[in-house]
């Protein structure tokens, strides 16, 4: 038995991997075991190299294989691997300072966590607690947009009620979940004919929901600036401005989930900067540490944080791994690399090139219904008039991409979102687009057969 077979056998015997069963993996000769990685490429245990078009979980922003990250992590761990409760460390304080500096407006106080789910859990709790501190105790409902994803733990899984989590089987969910329509110009729930029209109608929908559900019971609205769970859905430019204004009018907090969009992913440091809006609370993960080690954070405005100042107002919550000094040191180094190497600007420039090439692809392949995105969060959506069983199509696409050297997952079956490391080159984008091109050509002949 070779190492690969041995390890795959053990994985399928003992490891519960995400979203795929071990019987299926065994049948498919999976899981793939990664041995090394560099830039946007990963190499498996047999020496085959692939382009990781999803950049981990849209998370490896600076790219794989940075030796300087290994050095920072090692040295911080040698210096101090953890710390006693109620004390702190240099890297924690310095990361807080750095995040306060680079986030917009008065966002200034950082509550560190170890992932996006935890960040959004804390953000929601903070929003509810903020209203409690102000004596406005009835506010607990949260408005999210249908189809969005904000995490897998019980408090946040129901936000957006994403199809990918199969929530039907976990009923009943938490109380106070309100769902607004997704401002998706490609398939606007309200029939908006332009991105602007869709944005205005969807923002108006939020106000209607607030009025219907009693404004005094609503704590917060949460959303990603650009919705990643549905494939880089960019709302019309009015959307966030109107939502911000509505929040202010009804005393509702705006939580900006930058878990995917943050740290250059969309061509700005934070996705919300495209829309000129400052949220009350912002959540961060993924690109904050480029997945070298787990880390996330919540950052609140001075106004929100001030409600928790003083012994009587403490925000009681603790996570063992929240504010881990090795994680915060690696995040500092990661942000430093993003800044020093101009990766935010690179994301904008490479993203434009990527979108242009995808638009050309859409001209050539009528099955491409939409091309969208900003920076290096881009997606194509296949036209729904080409009918085929969804599961079959999704599997076929993933396997065909793999035959072409790409590790690329679909969202559902018709949306292909690409979020490579920000250090990607034009030549690498060409490889991806060429592989998509040949896949779409094959898809046409595949569809004519089924």
């Amino acid at each position: 038995m070779n190492t690969k077979t041995e390890l795959q056998g053990k994985a399928n015997r003992h490891l519960w991997m995400q979203a795929k069963g071990w019987a299926d993996m065994t049948a498919a000769g999976e899981p793939m075991i990664i041995e090394s990685a560099n830039g946007i490429s990963v190499t498996d245990i047999e020496g085959n190299t692939w382009l990781d078009v999803n950049g981990g979980y849209s998370s490896v922003n600076i790219g794989y294989g940075r030796k300087d990250m290994a050095d920072i992590v090692k040295n911080q761990m040698l210096q101090l691997s953890y710390y006693p409760e109620q004390t702190t460390t240099f890297p924690n304080a310095l990361l807080a300072e750095k995040l306060a500096e680079i986030t917009p407006g008065t966002l200034s106080r950082v509550w560190p966590v170890s992932g996006g789910s935890e960040a959004n859990e804390i953000a929601i709790r903070m929003a509810r607690a903020y209203h409690v501190r102000r004596g406005d105790k009835g506010r607990y409902k949260i408005i999210s947009r249908y189809g969005s994803y904000h995490g897998a733990t019980s408090g946040v899984a129901w936000l957006g009620r994403p199809a990918s989590l199969g929530l039907d089987q976990y009923e009943p969910g938490p109380l106070g979940m309100i769902y607004a329509s997704q401002p998706n110009p490609y398939s606007c729930s309200f029939g908006g004919k332009s991105p602007s029209e869709c944005a205005i109608l969807c923002a108006q929908d939020i106000e209607n929901l607030i009025i219907q559900n009693d404004p005094d019971t609503i704590a917060a609205i949460i959303g990603e600036p650009i919705t990643s769970s549905l494939g880089a859905v960019v709302p019309g430019e009015q959307y966030w401005l109107i939502v911000r204004e509505i929040c202010d009018r009804y005393g509702i907090l705006l939580i900006d989930d930058e878990v995917v969009c943050g740290f250059g992913r969309t061509g700005k440091m934070f996705g919300i900067e495209h829309f000129g809006v400052t949220p009350d609370i912002m959540t961060l993960a993924k690109g904050l540490g480029s997945s070298y080690v787990p880390i996330g954070a919540v950052i609140a405005t001075t106004q929100i944080a001030d409600a928790f100042a003083g012994k009587e107002n403490i925000f009681y919550a603790a996570l063992t791994a929240g504010g881990h000094p090795v994680s915060t040191a690696s995040a500092l180094a990661n942000i430093n690399i993003i800044e020093q190497e101009g990766l935010v600007e690179a994301s904008a420039v490479k993203g434009r090139y990527f979108i242009n090439r995808l638009n050309n692809l859409a001209v050539k392949h009528p099955i491409v219904g939409d091309v969208r995105g900003m920076g290096l969060l881009v997606a194509i959506e296949l036209d729904s008039k080409f009918t085929i069983d969804d599961k079959e199509l999704g599997d076929w696409l993933v396997n065909t991409f793999k035959d072409n050297g790409l590790l690329l997952r679909t969202l559902g079956s018709r949306v292909i979102q690409m979020s490579p490391p920000l250090c990607i080159t034009e030549a690498e984008i060409d490889i991806i687009v060429d592989a998509l091109d040949s896949t779409l050509t094959k898809l046409s002949s595949y569809l004519s057969k089924v």
């Binding site: 299926d24 990781d52 040295n75 006693p84 702190t88 950082v110």
Partner: protein
């Protein structure tokens, strides 16, 4: 290997400064030694950092926060160069002790191979760790879902329990039974298991539907008035069955509990409790989840605390000691019987966390477990823990306020009472927690008194001499406190 600041600086400069401009940053992280630099960091922490469970205005007035710069074994050193014993090893999590260069080396090697991996793939370190956990965990606990912390591990366990019933055609099982005086995490579902302080509930309400609570089998304060440990255990176990029957077994998904609970200070249930709970769960088709987040990896003198009771749960959750907090890491270990329902197709579990199965954390956890095994730390927890408990028990004679000493291994607690007969606590105005914490600090301990309960959860590498230091400081702190309150020998 002693890694001094100077050596650290030298290594980093040599390896990376020529290639990238992390120079300034590295100086700031590792080499702030002038008073002005330290003051800068302190101010930034006050202005920009939201420390868990802390308030920055009070901290500013008291000259805080306390900034820690290095650690070794059971001790940490702060930015002023003072050394302290960290009595609770972080949050009872640094099981192997601070400053083990082997972990840093394992992490370094893994990052240099691959720091992360694409969706649907994994690495050898993750597979080896899953295999290792299956080997260590009792019975048929053979399948591991990884996450980054205890809250996520327990959330995952509750999710698996519900989804399991769903797959077996029992979608109506959604309620979860937990014990008052337990803690299982702070995310939206698990926050409502156990019972944290009321302020948590006010801040994050309304409660998650379907959360039921039964009494803690705490022999010192049995809610049912059980007069012996056994009686308390039996009454508390019986209450679980009553709760199941009252709500209907067809609505109950899972029971979750720590083998020995944390918030009430290590109340060890009598030996009858867990076998009865196991039997009740089996009888009514309820999934039994053992939360070993604190108790696991040697803390109680066994690898897992449920081993003290010879009971195998259906799902076991681990965190903290699995990696001694060198990085974030946790796991939900599931029995084959449960896991078999999720093996493929539409039955697969739809549950995704970016950092599930992080290759770097896995490398650190593997090395951590091998250190625990090779250095017999589980045995050390048992032996030195026995000595520690003995020393604490000796204080009962001298200190009128010591009501109870309990726990097992290096998971120990002392409960202070103002009256031993009535077991009455202390008026909040006395601020016993704040005052004792200050006294202990003045004697070289970082040791937070949680009101009237003192929790002891040091690294498992602790020596008898270090135990003596802790006991001596606690002894003195209590003398002073009792003296101020007008009781005890020096009153």
């Amino acid at each position: 290997m002693v890694f001094t600041l100077k050596a650290c600086k030298y290594v980093i400069r040599r390896h990376i400064l020529l290639e990238t401009d992390l120079d300034h940053l590295i100086d700031r992280i590792f080499f702030m030694d002038t008073p002005a630099e330290i003051e800068h960091v302190r101010l930034k922490a006050l202005n920009n950092l939201w420390m868990h469970n802390r308030d920055w205005t009070e901290m500013a007035e008291s000259g805080g926060p306390h900034v820690i710069t290095s650690g070794k074994g059971v001790r940490v050193t702060d930015s002023e160069g003072n050394s302290w014993i960290d009595v609770n090893a972080g949050y009872s999590c640094v099981n192997i002790g601070y400053g083990r260069p082997e972990i840093a080396q394992a992490v370094y090697e893994q990052i240099n191979k691959t720091s992360f991996c694409p969706i649907g793939t994994t690495t050898e370190t993750v597979i080896r760790l899953a295999e290792k956990l299956a080997e260590l965990a009792p019975g048929d606990l053979n399948r591991v879902f990884f996450s980054t912390g205890g809250s996520e591990a327990n959330e995952t366990a509750l999710k698996i329990a519900k989804a399991y019933h769903n797959r077996r055609g029992e979608p109506g099982r959604y309620r979860v039974i937990s014990r008052k005086g337990s803690y299982h995490g702070m995310t939206g579902g698990v926050l409502w298991t156990g019972d944290g302080p009321a302020v948590h509930k006010a801040d994050y309400g309304p409660a998650y539907p379907g959360m039921l609570h039964v009494p803690q089998p705490n022999p010192y304060r049995c809610e049912f008035g059980g007069e012996t440990e056994s009686e308390c255990a039996i009454l508390c176990a019986q209450a679980i069955e009553d709760t199941i029957l009252f709500h209907g077994a067809e609505t109950i998904s899972a029971f979750i509990g720590e083998p020995i609970a944390i918030p009430q200070g290590a109340p060890v249930p009598s030996k009858e409790y867990w076998p009865m709970v196991r039997d009740i769960c089996d009888r009514y088709g309820v999934i039994m989840i053992a939360d070993e987040v604190v108790c696991g990896f040697g803390r109680t003198g066994k690898m897992f605390a449920m081993e003290h009771f010879n009971v195998v749960p259906d799902i076991m959750t681990v965190a903290k000691g699995i990696i001694s907090a060198y990085l974030p890491m946790a796991g939900t270990i599931v029995s084959d019987r449960i896991a078999d329902s999720f093996s493929g197709g539409d039955a697969s579990l739809k549950h995704v966390l970016t950092n599930s199965g992080h290759p770097v954390s896995a490398a650190a956890a593997l090395k951590n477990i091998s250190i625990i095994e090779e250095e017999n730390m589980v045995d050390n927890a048992k032996v030195v823990g026995g000595y520690f408990k003995n020393q604490l028990e000796n204080m009962i004679m001298d200190h009128p306020y010591v009501g109870d000493v309990r726990g097992v291994g290096l998971f120990l607690a002392m409960e202070l009472v103002s009256d031993r007969k009535t077991k009455a606590g202390f008026d909040t105005g006395i601020e016993i927690g704040v005052r004792l914490t200050k006294k202990f600090k003045s004697k070289g301990l970082i040791f937070r008194a949680r009101e009237n309960i003192l929790h002891f959860g040091p690294p498992l590498c602790i020596t008898r001499e270090e135990v003596d230091e802790i006991v001596h400081a606690v002894d003195l702190g209590l003398w002073e406190f009792e003296g101020e309150c007008g009781v005890g020998r020096f009153a």
